[in-house]
């Protein structure tokens, strides 16, 4: 009997890639997709890399496919935007070895800046989308996606969501079947997408999507489950599970391929059920198409386009059950915060003191936007901090940004920030850029990148030096400062924001959660010296609390001994000593 194992959705996707014989995998970390690559790298048969961004990852996978092997790229939904340039065009060119893009959507915005639906991108890019409903399907559907890719000469998107990627279920492990590498043959009409060739390929692409829609009626992953026919659901992915939970007696058309839709199958199902619901999270992608075919359905007029669905939603809306749910107690919110000992807190305490605004970026440091730090004013997308600051300057003049900086992490800087900095230099900006270098991609759980000196596969490689990279762009004022050296930081930020030239301050200290990081010290209050002024509490370290009498307490199980609170205390009322 095959081994049964409980696997995270993302782990099952990785297993699917392994069993499908994938040879190359490329990705940039992003919640909820990160664990795909972290599991793929456990299979020595697969070359796996962190690329600097999703566009590069997609192109690496494309190259591998053209050369004749199966290749996978994985990324979060907003990463697909970065990769959309190659995606839209490889859709025309098609593949040699199978090419699958795993796109992880985030309904409910657990860890994202928007709630976009990758199916909309796929529809515009003319790329088929396959969507599993649990870990077991995730593994099998990835394998099927490779078959579709090769048979229909198309990249295929496997769409997952946070709930699927970060849920675990039981999976049966099968052997890896590695298809023979295809021989490379030069074929510019297919792989050189200049206007004349692309025109021809566009004709092919339209035929391909039509054929897929027809053939989809007989794909095993699209399945009509007939039970009571007074209510029918068309659904896919995780929402299928909610339907099974809340309405076990209802008929269901479970779609494994959500683009293009199998028209014949849907028409058949619609004819057999009396009341037809379309139950899909986020955008009405299935619904709009089905309505356009003149089929009467109930969809977004009763189900929201926002957030995650649930079985209780169906019980309420479809079954008309009075739920008698207890009300939630009123409780103080517990939003995520920077960790005790986080170097970002130290840098932000200086910005806060100097009343400097920051154009922010994507990473843990986005948390500097909220109480009590209040230093990040804008966050748009990866790499946007430097370019938005530049835009402000060009709109309002260089004096306007004298109390502004751009704040970006090391991994985000390598992702796309570097382009924005080139632009600032080229177009004669005068902004001050803070690169918060914590030697890792922190928020997503510590992945390496081009400036850390280590690859996903664990090889030690020369690290790209951020200081020299900035110098090479011709920036005269670049300096590296210890992220906990408050005096130096204050001096540098004051000096550089005044300067009529681009300047870069690289603040350095490793992420506190980085493996191998040791904390020899711990901070303790010295009660007899405490004036109860609250200066140490201002940066919002979670290890510090104010006691009823106004004095402070430090939770030594949380404290990492960074010493920020000690430096902020004017009365020596905090001692940081060896543990």
């Amino acid at each position: 009997m095959a081994e049964r194992k409980i696997m995270l959705g993302n782990e099952a996707i990785a297993r699917g890639a392994y069993e499908a014989g994938v040879k190359v995998s490329a990705a940039y970390p992003g919640t909820p997709s990160t664990e795909i690559s972290e599991n793929i790298v456990k299979y020595p048969e697969i070359y796996a890399e962190w690329s600097p961004n999703e566009k590069v990852a997609m192109e690496v996978a494309i190259g591998a496919s053209i050369s004749g092997v199966r290749a996978l790229a994985s990324m979060k939904h907003v990463g697909v935007n970065v990769a959309s340039d190659p995606l839209y065009t490889i859709s025309y060119a098609g593949v040699s070895g199978g090419l699958v893009l795993v796109a992880a959507d985030d309904p409910g915005l657990y860890s994202s800046q928007n709630e976009q639906d990758t199916r909309c991108v796929a529809r515009a890019a003319l790329v088929p989308v396959i969507e599993p409903s649990d870990s077991a399907e995730a593994k099998e559907f990835v394998k099927f996606a490779f078959e579709v890719s090769e048979k229909y000469d198309t990249p295929v998107i496997v769409r997952t969501t946070t709930r699927l990627s970060h849920s675990q279920g039981v999976v049966e492990l099968l052997d890896r079947v590695e298809p023979a590498d295809k021989t490379y043959e030069r074929n510019p009409a297919k792989y050189v997408m200049m206007p004349g060739n692309a025109k021809g390929r566009h004709v092919y692409v339209e035929q391909r999507m039509k054929k897929l829609s027809e053939d989809g009626a007989s794909f095993a992953i699209n399945r009509a489950e007939y039970r009571d026919t007074s209510i029918g659901f068309i659904t896919s992915g995780i929402p299928y599970q909610y339907v099974r939970e809340a309405c076990p007696g209802a008929s269901v058309l479970k779609l494994g391929m959500v683009h293009p839709l199998p028209k014949k199958l849907i028409e058949e199902f619609a004819a057999k059920v009396e009341k037809l619901y379309i139950f899909e999270e986020l955008e009405p992608v299935i619904e709009e198409q089905v309505r356009a075919w003149g089929i009467d359905v109930i969809g977004k007029e009763v189900f929201t386009v926002q957030g995650e669905y649930s079985a209780n939603l169906l019980r309420r809306v479809v079954m008309g059950e009075d739920m008698h749910l207890a009300e939630a107690e009123k409780t103080p919110a517990r939003p995520p915060i920077l960790c005790p000992g986080c170097p970002h807190r130290s840098v932000f305490s200086v910005l806060n003191k100097l009343k400097i605004h920051a154009a922010g970026d994507i990473g843990c440091y986005t948390l500097g936007a909220v109480a009590p730090l209040h230093v990040i004013d804008t966050t748009v997308c990866m790499g946007a901090s430097i370019s938005t600051l530049h835009g402000m300057e060009k709109a309002k003049g260089k004096d306007y940004i004298k109390n502004w900086v751009a704040v970006i992490g090391d991994s985000t800087f390598m992702h796309t920030g570097v382009n924005s900095l080139m632009n600032m230099v080229y177009n004669q900006g005068t902004g001050t850029v803070l690169i918060l270098d914590n030697s890792t991609t922190g928020m997503t759980g510590h992945q390496d990148h081009a400036a850390t000196g280590k690859t996903l596969m664990g090889e030690v490689v020369p690290a790209i030096n951020i200081y020299h990279l900035c110098k090479a762009m011709g920036i005269a004022h670049v300096q590296e400062i210890d992220a906990f050296d408050l005096k130096e930081l204050e001096r540098a930020i004051k000096e550089e924001t005044k300067r009529d030239a681009v300047s870069v301050i690289i603040t350095k200290a490793p992420c506190v959660l980085l493996k191998g990081n040791v904390f020899p010290n711990v901070c303790r209050p010295v009660p007899e010296k405490c004036k109860k002024c609250g200066a140490c509490l201002r940066p919002g370290c979670p290890a510090l609390t104010k006691k009823a009498d106004g004095a402070i307490a430090i939770d030594t199980t949380m404290c990492n001994g960074c010493g920020l609170c000690q430096k902020l205390c004017a009365f020596d009322a905090i001692a940081c000593e060896k543990k």
Binding site: Y110, S111, Q241, E245, P332, L537, T545
Partner: protein, 196 residues
């Protein structure tokens, strides 16, 4: 078997993922179908985190919905209060009697509720343990979550021996002994504090 719904709630960084791995492991070993749902990413940075575990003959959705939880395992008092409305009528709360102030309390924007355990006991069966204190006595404060799990194990369908086996298979080899001891501390408490 009807699906059993377990929730593990706590503060990001408290190690909810390890506990859910042990729980997931034991359900598979016992031959059940199981689904778990976790929170990764931003919320793990000190935010409120929830893990759902559902096991039975056949499990569809991976989440536990409001009004459906059989057991709520809380690693912190405020988090027990936050999710208590997820419990079924006869659901059970197993709570680590410990306070971690959220940033909203630290900055003075909100007050930490007093007498949480007493309040919860008015409506639910509550089993409490100061697992931090117990873990410190044991010599490793990090093992507190396995103590809480041990107490919660009394409300699930698995033998003590199987729990110990699965713990041995799940935790890093060097920590097997301490985690098994921690589990037994919770398990032997059976009823936690006397809430009368």
């Amino acid at each position: 078997m009807e699906t059993k719904n377990i929730m593990i709630v706590g503060v990001g960084g408290q190690g909810t993922l390890l506990t859910s791995r042990i729980l997931g492991g034991i359900t598979v070993r016992a031959g059940y179908d199981v689904k778990l749902s976790e929170v990764h990413g931003m919320a793990q940075r000190g935010g409120s985190v929830v893990t759902f575990v559902r096991y039975g003959s056949e499990v569809a959705e991976p989440i536990v919905e409001e009004g459906c939880a059989d057991v709520l395992i809380a690693f912190e008092r405020l988090e027990a209060l936050r999710y208590a409305h997820f419990l079924k009528k006869d659901g059970v709360i197993v709570v680590n009697d410990w306070r971690i102030e959220p940033i909203t309390v630290v900055t003075g924007a909100a007050a930490y509720p007093e007498n949480i355990i007493e309040k919860l006991s008015e409506k639910h069966r509550v089993y409490a343990v100061n697992a931090m204190e117990e873990a410190e006595k044991l010599g490793n404060v990090k093992a507190f979550n396995v103590i809480v799990l041990g107490l919660a194990a009394r409300h699930m369908d698995f033998d003590k021996g199987l729990w110990l086996e699965v713990i041995a298979e799940t935790v890093p080899p060097k920590t097997v002994d301490i985690n098994q001891k921690a589990f037994l501390i919770g398990y032997e408490k059976e009823n936690g504090y006397d809430m009368e």
